[in-house]
Symmetry: C2
Subunit: 316 residues, 2 copies
């Protein structure tokens, strides 16, 4: 099969074997999305080699359970052992022996097909198009915030970051709190205002220090945390979505003095993401910058790294 392959550098391969792991399904990929994590991976993040990509929508082609064959699905990216102390606690996303689609020990979605366990799959209702469904995984990561930190309607929440993930988080949180998005792309203002969400440029936000009950760092930048500390009130909470290679210097004494709570947030629940798309509560159409054929994947990843690019999709 055709696929993008990363080992020190990214190459397009025409004749990779399509391997289905024992007890898993083969899923033909209809569309795959490029995430900032994929860009980090091609810089060496996680030490991954293999086929990258973890966002996809596809059709089950092969399964031990014939009921699944032909179903259009999205898939959770953490494949868990089911036996370790975290799996037993129901924390499958933190399984000690997990593999992660296109990130850790498991080939991903920048390919004609991929392999995942049946229990990772979610069938899709017909009302959700492929172009919407490919956003389920990052939208689930956005909904993870509400799972970890139920918001009150009077809470002042600053979302730092108006990139791909930030714009999904903004929509997931809309109506749950007093939300403002602070971003470095002034051209996103009209988009957010169309959705009824307040926007401030970084410069406009500068005077409004220590005013937020909660700050969400979805900047994707090592500087995001410092900026979050400027914005959050004493006793407030910083939710960190940003994963960068390296160790940024953090003013930890300030976390102590202001008694800040910091919450790391990663993968999230698929059902509320699917529900939100089905109910047309999230606009994904405006988030698609371009669709590339898989064979132009290298070009697509370069495009995805450009400032101002939103979601770049790959079609096998």
């Amino acid at each position: 099969m055709q696929a993008l392959y990363f080992k020190k550098s990214l190459t397009f391969k025409k004749n990779l074997p399509s391997i289905v792991k024992p007890g898993e399904c083969r899923i033909r990929v209809l569309l795959a999305g490029i995430c900032s994590t994929d860009l980090e991976i091609t810089k060496g993040y996680m030490g991954f080699s293999g086929i990258p990509g973890h966002e996809f929508v596809g059709v089950v082609e092969q399964s031990d359970d014939s009921d699944w064959i032909g179903k259009r699905v999205v898939g959770e990216i953490n494949a868990a052992c089911g036996d370790c102390c975290f799996c037993i606690r129901g924390m499958k996303n933190h399984c000690a022996r997990r593999t992660v689609l296109g990130i850790l020990g498991r080939d991903g979605s920048f390919a004609e097909s991929l392999s995942l366990p049946i229990q990772n799959l979610h069938p899709l209702p017909n009302e959700i198009s492929d172009e919407e469904a490919v956003f389920v995984e990052p939208l689930a990561a956005a909904f993870r915030i509400l799972e970890q930190l139920p918001l009150r309607s009077d809470e002042r929440v600053t979302l730092l970051g108006d990139g791909k993930l930030g714009l999904l988080i903004a929509q997931a949180l809309k109506g749950t709190c007093r939300l403002v998005v602070v971003g470095s792309h002034p051209e996103r203002r009209s988009l957010l205002e169309k959705w009824g969400i307040d926007f401030l440029s970084v410069r406009e936000a500068e005077p409004l220090r220590a005013l937020s009950d909660i700050v969400i760092d979805a900047t994707g930048s090592p500087k995001g945390f410092d900026f979050a500390q400027e914005r959050v009130r004493p006793g407030g909470t910083i939710v960190v979505k940003t994963t960068c290679a390296g160790k940024p210097k953090i003013d930890l004494a300030r976390v102590v003095i202001n008694e800040i709570t910091v919450i790391g947030s990663r993968c999230g629940p698929f059902p509320p993401a699917i529900k939100a798309l089905r109910e047309r509560k999230v606009d994904t159409h405006s988030l698609i910058s371009e669709v590339y054929p898989l064979r132009k994947g290298k070009e697509a990843l370069r495009r995805a790294a450009e400032k101002g690019a939103l979601k770049i999709l790959l079609r096998p």
Copy 2:
């Protein structure tokens, strides 16, 4: 009056004025305790100049309310404005205009007397000696953890640090959870075992990674947070008590991947600390290394900085 004075360097002064701020009380200091924060302050932390010291027990000598005169008291160290958005929310320790005894804009307890507002004072029952009462402030900081994070009896808690604060936290937490203290002073083992608290040396703790539900960093070291990340399980909590100057490099991606919650923890409630001392639930006697006369304060601070020293007290 006699006092220690810090401005770039520490000096003992014989003739400082004893100033009572308008509306406040003058308290004659009976005993003052040296905290690691005081040592940091003499290295430039917080940019403080004036009389350092924030742990004390004393007697009210002057007050607008004559009922207080002659009372033996301890005092909360944050003097709040009462009007700002944090005071109004009941977060006086985070008052935006606060001064802090011996730390921020207010002379401290390494002196014959000090000034504090009446609302900061707590009268002491006779059963608590001066040598015990001088521990109320740091013991309150230990109890702050239980206020922020109610512990369940089945939770595995690792307390990193067997110094002055660590040994108070250990006693405050005893019986609330499955506690183990990990420390760098093997000679503390017998003390902790006397109290019925498990102890592991740093070397003994090495193989026990990712096993704790909660890790408390009371190391006072910039390396404490990294060590805490080694010990805490995915989805677990790190409570940070350590305040160091500078910005340590933090593996923030690991906080995200493992979805760790980090809670900064500073000053705490005095009533449970006073209650615990009154009920003889906390052994402070074993924590006193030496008592120095105030005029030998410089020597006392040097002694407090030596490895293995526990609490050094100053008697005016």
